[in-house]
Symmetry: C2
Subunit: 569 residues, 2 copies
């Protein structure tokens, strides 16, 4: 291997301060990010400008995406933008019998590099990705259907933050034990027993990242960087509709690894033919020792049950609830909720689905409001928010796939429609399916309890721009329903609005007992469906929606093992 | 509930400094223990003297062991000391439908107590246990068959150390995130987005500890205290032959919990009728969210596959290897190995089983020694070590059960016996089965490779005082066999003797790649089968012998989840 262009000194100079800031941020949980959110912040210091990012994106379309991976036995593709155009990119298809052994070849040197160098290499990869954020924004937009600004922020700086957060956790976990220690045990009048011990964190082997359609980078980076930083190789298996953002990621990783003197095959791409379903095959390969997955509950459960040779981290479906008891900022609440329901057409795993509203209404600073009034006012707020097509397009993005559209169209049949969905024309992409959310009124929580009936619409995840305004007997009834929903169906987020200290305490208690992340009385510019890296936990890992949280010690601690060698001193 | 006798102030004064020392010890890995190893160190400051400990032990025998647990529906017992006498103790038998809900009742207050108070309560429990170390020594001796001094040390201070280590890890993990944080995100010219966040570690529910026969306290305390300190209740299900040490532990825990103002049912005992097999039933109860287990691979694998509602930590069987390449202290090596093979009749999960010795012999400071000579010299060393019956009894203890005796007796049929086992008479317990180890010469590692044959005796764990002196073609052949053994069968320990830097590096590489803990060239008073809390890892969690290590971040980090509540500031 050629002499490394990127020496440890270079890497330290470039990134050690950033790593230290990240370590401090995960300790204080205060706001911090090294990745600018504003598109105009890019274009200098070697990063791509808006125009250059778009040009880079266009240059990739319609061609082969070369990665020079071992075991490439063909070329596959077929991504179609939710905005209409075919991407036309072809990716290498890998023979796992060749690729997986090749990925193991560099593990020894990667282990020997140690936790700090691994962390710094990961930070360099993230810096390269950050420099191409404008290009990534287009790639995320045209695979997930997110509107450009969201694709830019969530797919760019926010995803990079989550990756960096995982690196910081991984580094901190590995250096909790020193590299070596002298141990001397007194023996009374005899000489002490003395040992020299060395401790080496060793990765488990090859990790498999199974990417998702909606947030290929944001949901993919934590697992990818946690595994890589802890000494593993990472095979990236993107969702077949969202390959490009992760292919760009793999390319950046391979470039940096090479420049730093490591084997580029420590990170590789596994693209697939339509319908090939390689995740299921790869997941049970003996080389695969770690799996990160975001997607359906069915496949997540399958992985947990069957990929027994691996540590499996899953984010699956959940049913997110907002309890509306009372508010001292009715207008703020309606505006906040309207935004939460609309953002990316409700296609976030954190979007509220069930709004639990007492049948007798709620107290607000604008006077008491009946259930019907609250629902009507929320419908009006959503309608106003999305009344202008430009703004609607900027918020909603496009429906990611026909299944979402199908659920949206079927939702009207589930109850009284308080707000109908409308089609929004996109000025640039006439084939984009842009739809405003539907709000459906439902009743009968009490009936659910009494009948023991399980299959009511609001007790399953209805992924997409569909919310249910569920009439409940009381706030106490709402909390019972919240508890049951989290316990049985899982939840990535819970929201609540109340002016009562007692109710606040009661909803907190439910969330503490059922391990759900709670946002209280959000009426401003923070939304229940958004979390910030270094401060907020995404999911709890303690309810059925996910078996891990992004990011905590448990997310990284079992991706490596500590091997001790002791010698007489 | 009555006012707590043990206030947080009391607990802080008594134990905070010890907790801080433990936190420092797990960071530096230097030698440290607050628990004296010498029996004479006890008897003052309220701790039981040798005589009082024996009296306390005798007072418990032949009676009912009251714990005042809810759901007690009968009394069960039947322990027989491996030294002969029946213990005659009866323990409460629990109806899990009553006991498990009762154990959940105190979880809210235990959660609200916070990580520091929980840690201090755990340290008070350990201090109570420490004060009764002499009583525990008899309980461990007469359930495990360990000789008194070993039962005293391994069952007393060393077990308490491992419990304290788990508490330190649990505390450290929970306070990595602050209890609250203010988060403020700049918004250019607009007001910053500001949130007040609280973070609460919440236990998963009820943990189940499934104890083992040979080290009821040492192997039990890490999981018990890790779960309790992270906010869980713990149901202790002892091995039916080793109930007493854990019943004493449960009693101490319930006393302290009560005095500190918590629900004593946070810790409870689940004893069983002979053949009842309640572990299998309890393990899949929905209330059980964590399981710690030490025992057979078959049941450990069953738990991992079936107790899917729980986090499962297992220590199972393994095949421990010592590679003998060369030594500059032949006499020291032989003495060290002889002790390792003899201690507790080889009934440690860490006892070496396979001694891999090149067919052409090894270089030593006493000149070259052929394979036959090395084996004969080792046999002589063991014979001398155990030649005196008093010393033999003090080292060997008794065989823990008839299965071990059966394996010992069958071992002679597997190959040429280099050292035959002999019966040792015990001066106080004529019915004790005390046996010296057998060493059997085997050959054919190469044949194993060539035939692909799997079922050779030395590739399965032969638990008990049986070792195999396996002739190999070369040290390289030994390393291949070591690698295969660790990868396929698992290993808690690996030992090696070599004067060659190259060979040392090669055996290290195997252990790093296969995740095995390695001891190199031990010739003095530290043995491959012993690990020290706060410094050594017991197991790696990275090979089939165990899915967790005692103790590291991964052992505690997933026993609780962090629940965040955020509010607009």
């Amino acid at each position: 291997m050629a002499a490394a262009q990127l020496t440890t000194d270079h890497l330290t100079e470039r990134h050690r301060a950033t790593l230290d800031q990240a370590l401090e941020a995960i300790r204080t949980r205060a706001y911090w990010s090294p990745h600018p959110e504003h598109p105009k912040a890019y274009g200098e210091d070697g990063s791509l400008s808006a125009a250059d990012g778009l040009a880079a994106h266009r240059a990739v379309l319609g061609g082969r995406f070369e990665l020079e991976q071992p075991g490439t036995d063909g070329w596959v593709g077929g991504e179609v933008s939710p905005y209409g155009p075919e991407l036309g990119v072809e990716y290498p298809h890998a023979d796992p019998d060749v690729l997986l052994p090749a990925m193991r070849a560099g593990l020894g040197a990667w282990r020997d590099a140690g936790p700090e160098t691994r962390a710094l290499v990961c930070l360099e990869i993230l810096a390269r990705i950050s420099g191409r954020t404008h290009e990534f924004a287009h790639a995320v937009m045209h695979t997930s259907g997110q509107a450009f600004m969201m694709a830019f922020q969530a797919g760019g700086p926010h995803a990079q933050d989550r990756g960096l957060e995982a690196v910081a956790y991984a580094y901190a976990e590995q250096v909790r034990v020193p590299g070596s220690a002298d141990w001397s045990k007194p023996q009374g009048k005899r000489d002490p027993l003395a040992l020299r011990k060395t401790f080496t964190p060793v990765g488990r082997g090859v990790a498999l990242l199974i990417g998702c359609n909606t947030f290929p980078t944001w949901n993919g980076y934590p697992g990818l960087f946690a595994s890589l930083a802890t000494g593993n190789a990472v095979l990236v298996k993107p969702h077949p509709r969202a390959v490009l953002p992760l292919a760009l990621t793999v390319r950046a990783a391979r470039e940096v690894l090479t420049e730093a003197g490591f084997d580029p095959n420590l990170v590789a791409l596994a693209a697939e033919r339509p319908g090939e379903g390689i995740a299921k095959t790869l997941a049970v390969r003996p080389e695969i020792r770690i799996i990160d997955y975001t997607g359906s509950t069915a496949f997540g459960d399958w992985l947990e049950a069957n990929a027994r040779q691996a540590q499996v981290y899953t984010e699956k479906a959940g049913v997110n609830t907002v309890v509306i008891d009372s508010t001292d900022d009715y207008r703020g609440m309606l505006g906040n909720l309207a935004f939460s329901l609309s953002l990316y057409s409700g296609q976030m795993c954190t979007t509220p689905q069930n709004l639990l509203i007492p049948r007798d209404g709620v107290d607000t600073d604008a006077g008491p409001r009946s259930y019907d009034e609250v629902v009507a006012d929320l419908a009006t707020a959503v309608g106003k928010l999305l009344g202008d097509d430009d703004r609607a397009n900027a918020l909603l993005g496009a429906l990611v796939n026909p299944d979402v559209r199908g659920r949206l169209e079927a939702a009207g049949g589930l109850g009284e429609v308080a707000l109908a969905s409308r089609e929004v024309a996109h000025p640039d992409f006439p084939d984009a399916a842009v739809r405003t959310p539907v709000i459906v009124k439902l009743d009968g929580a009490r009936k659910v309890w009494e009948s023991g009936e399980d299959e009511v619409p609001f007790l399953s995840e209805c992924f997409g721009p569909v919310s249910f305004a569920v009439a409940v007997d009381s706030t106490a009834d709402a909390l019972d329903l919240l508890r049951r929903t989290v316990r049985e169906k899982g939840a990535m987020t819970v929201g609540a609005y109340t002016t009562s200290a007692e109710t606040e305490r009661a909803v907190e208690e439910v969330c503490l007992e059922e391990s759900a992340q709670l946002s209280l009385n959000l009426t401003g510019g923070v939304y229940v469906n958004q979390t910030a890296a270094f401060s907020d936990f995404h999911g709890s890992g303690g309810n059925p929606a996910a078996n891990a949280a992004l990011c905590d010690g448990a997310f990284v601690a079992n991706r490596f093992r500590m091997v001790e060698v002791r010698r007489q001193a």
